[in-house]
């Protein structure tokens, strides 16, 4: 391995790659060579740094200088100033508009200050395509220790004591899950990693796989040792090509190093891992459906019991965990259960990664100790709501979760407290909504998702969610009737009681939680035929105010000829002709056209 005086870390996650990180790496290498610095300065493509909003992100070590929204032409300046002369290029250093521009290094940035990075500890730090870098950061040390110093039962005992709960959203104690599978009789067992991250707005698992794939492989091997399995599958979404490629590289390198395969680390233990690609079906994130899909069938869930630990993949005992759950495990075995319990709360120890998105300034990936209040995540880390708009709600748990209103923003984030207020942790999507988002429409959006993704096996989910969607469609188009809310609640309850899998059972949650906290918004749609957020097109009309200068821009853009008026005089919209395409609002230079 080569030694360098400085390292330039370029984020190679999906977010930054989309905003042009690939071109930066080539340019850095080219420029370093030009200045004859290529033997002194190394360029590393890492996983996600988390602050996707500021991408493409570049960090220079040892200083820890945090450059944001770097364009290829900025590279020349960073090399000629920072690398050659040791002068930090201040104008490219990240600072949020709410912060003093003095912050130069990563640790000064509000976004990172309040985080505890455990599952993400290597993301954005190491090169995920070099197993040596993972090993240098204590990688595979937990596996080595387990294989040489611990019995399989001792491994499970540490996990049980740690109190780690499933990070996929269910929150089931991981140690207990492993114990069930270990106790299950059978010669052949499987370890499965659920990387079918289907929740819209959640990308934690993708970032872990892209940034630190070896942590997942190590944890799967540990699981194999603990439950008595020699074969594992990673079921990953086909929509994540970068994650798949890095997993393939990591598996190949681990095999070359004897960390996967037969006789791992010179012991008797054998374990190997295969990758299976999903094909675009949300229900396959449900564990029994996922296993049916690996077997090569339509990914429909099966009733439990039998549980996967008894009869899982190919009818054999199987243990299935989520990516983030696995990513925690090597650290727990290295540092002990007490260390892990020192973070988070009594009922939910450790940390949780969230994908912060929607109407928030710092969109990206954050990891906080469990028990952190939502307010801290949204305001201190997330930097609040853009454009001075008012915070309205935050949605957690995706299509299985709910919307949390402003009045509950001080609730600590943990499994049980979120369920108590009608939402759930889910896999970690956290979508912030402001005053412009209509909560009835958001409920309709999630229901539409579930209807589309319902596998159709059981009637409550297949038919029930469709009936609910029909009611919501009526409400947002101004045809709601008295009794609709009660009907929604009745349907929700029976779907919750009778659907086959967790997906169906929780499908009504987005509707129930919005009715609970935003009932007056539903009532405004139904009784007054009014959308308070001015979002639902059929319930609003456009109006030209006295700010109009009569420039005729709106008149010219209107596709249906609904706008009339003389040049230099206030125009008017004929609402009977208007199709509410809002082209006129986009064209108006004076902000004179409003929705009422």
């Amino acid at each position: 391995m080569k030694f360098y005086r400085s390292h330039i870390l370029v984020c190679g996650g999906t977010g930054c790659s989309s905003s042009g990180a690939g071109a930066l790496i080539d340019r850095f290498n080219e420029q370093l060579k030009l200045h004859a610095l290529d033997q002194e300065v190394g360029v590393v493509k890492t996983g996600c740094f988390g602050l996707c909003e500021a991408g493409p992100v570049v960090i220079v070590y040892p200083e820890g200088t945090f450059y944001s929204r770097v364009r290829p032409e900025d590279v020349d300046l960073i090399v000629s100033e920072h690398m050659l002369k040791g002068r930090i290029v201040r104008k490219l250093v990240y600072h949020h508009e709410t912060e003093e521009p003095a912050g130069q290094s990563l640790n000064d940035v509000e976004f990172y200050k309040h985080q505890t990075r455990l599952a993400l500890r290597n993301c954005g730090v190491i090169d995920p395509e070099q197993i040596d870098e993972y090993i240098a950061f204590d990688g595979y040390k937990a596996l080595a220790r387990a294989l040489t110093e611990m019995s399989p039962q001792q491994v499970i005992d540490v996990l049980k004591e740690s109190g780690l709960r499933g990070r996929g959203g269910g929150g089931f104690p991981t140690g207990l899950k492993w114990q069930f599978c270990r106790n299950s009789p059978g010669e052949k067992k499987y370890v499965i990693c659920n990387a079918d991250e289907g929740d819209p707005g959640a990308f934690m698992d993708r970032s872990v796989l892209e940034g630190d794939p070896n942590a997942v492989l190590e944890a799967m091997a540990l699981c194999g040792y603990a439950i008595g399995s020699d074969e594992g599958y990673i079921y990953v979404r086909a929509e994540y090509p970068i994650a798949v490629r890095r997993l393939e590289i990591a598996i190949r390198q681990a095999r070359e190093y004897g960390l996967l395969g037969n006789g791992i680390l010179g012991t008797e233990f054998n374990f190997d891992i295969h990758i299976r690609l999903g094909a675009g079906a949300f229900v396959c994130g449900e564990e029994t459906a996922l296993m049916t899909s690996i077997e090569g069938h339509r990914g429909e869930p099966n009733p439990k019991p039998p549980f996967p630990a008894q009869q899982g993949l190919f009818g054999l005992p199987s243990n299935i965990n989520n990516v983030e759950t696995f990513a925690n495990i090597p650290q727990i075995l290295l540092n002990g259960a007490d260390w892990f319990r020192s973070m988070g709360t009594r009922r939910s120890p450790g940390t949780k990664v969230f994908a912060l998105g929607g109407k928030i300034n710092n969109t990206g990936l954050v990891e906080v100790a469990m028990g952190t209040p939502l307010r801290k995540v949204i305001y201190d880390i997330g930097g609040g709501i853009p454009k001075g708009k008012r915070f309205k709600a935050v949605q957690t748990g995706g299509p299985s979760g709910g919307c949390i209103p402003e009045s509950l923003i001080d609730v600590p984030i943990e499994y049980d407290s979120l369920i108590e207020i009608g939402s759930m942790m889910g896999s970690g999507g956290m979508i912030v909504m402001d005053e412009d988002n209509c909560m009835v429409d958001i409920a309709r959006f999630f229901l539409e998702f579930t209807v589309d993704e319902s596998c159709g096996k059981c009637t409550p989910c297949r038919v029930g969610t469709r009936r609910m969607l029909e009611i919501l469609d009526r409400i947002v188009s101004g045809k709601g009737e008295e009794g609709d809310l009660e009907q929604l609640e009745i349907l929700a309850e029976s779907i919750n009681d009778t659907a086959l899998c967790g997906l169906g059972q929780t499908a009504p949650n987005p509707v129930l939680s919005t009715i609970k906290y935003f009932r007056e918004e539903y009532e405004a749609h139904i009784r007054d035929k009014r959308c308070p957020a001015r979002h639902c097109k059929e319930l609003l009309h456009l109006e030209i105010t006295d700010k109009c200068r009569g420039c005729t821009a709106c008149f010219r853009v209107c596709p249906v000829g609904a706008i009339t008026g003389q040049p230099r005089a206030r125009h008017a919209i004929d609402t009977s002709k208007c199709i509410k395409c809002e082209s006129c609002i986009e064209k108006c230079h004076f902000g004179a056209i409003i929705k009422v």
Binding site: T14, D199, H297
Partner: protein, 156 residues
Amino acid sequence: MADKQAQLEKLRQVIREHKDTPGPLMPVMQAAQNIFGYLPEDVQIEIAEGLGVTLSEVYGVATFYSQFTLEPKGEHVISVCMGTACYVKGAQAVLDKLADSLGIQPGGTTRDGKFTLLATRCLGACGLAPVLMVDDQVHGRVTPESVPAILAIYEG
């Protein structure tokens, strides 16, 4: 026709490689879709016979997963992300604008075979919402106004 023969030969090779692994159907179908671009009936029959499963099983899997398609797609596939983060930031307006500009509905292909328009599940690039993907290239922070410029890149 020689082309089709070469494609079929490639598919048979894939079938031979996967035949004895557990659960081979989906990897074979994914490879087939890569080879042919879609899964027409004769390809499905080839897979069913090659793996010793019924055609209804193959068809059932092909229609269950949204990734598989039974119709050929356009030269460029535009996928507009309809994940939650993109939706709350106005992805619907972007999709509407594209449908309008191309004169097709989501799921459709333009008459000249140039573009296929899809509303897709979360692409996981929520930090850049709203996003769309043309083939493998992700475009972030898209607005209805930036749609013509994006289309122009691929129209040439």
